[in-house]
Symmetry: C2
Subunit: 142 residues, 2 copies
């Protein structure tokens, strides 16, 4: 597959910055109005930006003084004129206000992006960890 | 998003037929040599057709005389010249040789397809169910 191209790289960098800052508006701005998200936690599907904004607001407010550092690894992207797809591994690391690591979680992430009026927006996101019914420890690094 | 278009529809139909027939060659033929799969079960990532073929061979042989009926619901696809993406809900229903329903499982599926030499092949697939740590019952319909 193609190497990581700039429009997608920018979206990933903006995602990291928005999560670290717990900046709801910056986070929501990455997504299309009609985004559909298959998220790892609890909910079957988030349909539309209002539902996804509510998830992000709840996530950020649940963190209190903690912050979340996002790292992306092994991205594979395909970019065409107005459509781009990427799949990548993501590590979410929660740290205290002082920077002490509390916990870390690995995810698999697939995103579809469309270009509209020169801007790339996420129209679909799918995150998961594989399920192991014997133990759920494989889901967590620590 | 666009309605379901023919090349993707064909791949989904071929997927259903291959699984119902437990036809390993037909199943593997849907995928690109360099396919990367984020599958729901156990394995972090399948890289390349050999690893994915091994998964399918193991799956089909584990069924014995059972068969698996695949149903797709609420597909959303975007098709451009040589790149297509789809996300859709999938129900896998295992039945006995006599057609008696044994169990049923709902998945969320995202696929990326590329056209090469006039043929569409799956280059990336991501399947999951949302995780509920209190109970895992939400994963199963029955």
């Amino acid at each position: 597959m193609d190497t990581l191209s700039n429009p997608i790289l920018r979206v990933l960098e903006d995602y990291k910055a928005a999560v670290l800052a717990k900046d709801l508006e910056a986070f929501v701005a990455l997504y299309d109005q009609d985004v559909q998200v298959f998220d790892m936690w609890g909910v079957w599907v988030y349909r539309g930006i209002a539902a996804w904004r509510e998830m992000a607001a709840s996530w950020f407010s649940s963190l209190g003084s903690e912050r979340v550092i996002v790292e992306f690894n092994s991205p594979h992207s395909i970019v065409t004129q107005d459509l781009a797809v990427i799949h990548v591994f993501v590590t979410f690391t929660a740290v205290t206000a002082e920077g002490v690591v509390l916990r870390s979680l690995d995810n698999r992430l697939t995103m579809t992006l469309k270009q509209r009026s020169g801007e790339w927006k996420v129209v679909h996101e799918h995150t998961s960890s594989p399920i192991d019914f014997d133990t759920t420890k494989a889901i967590f690094k620590r």
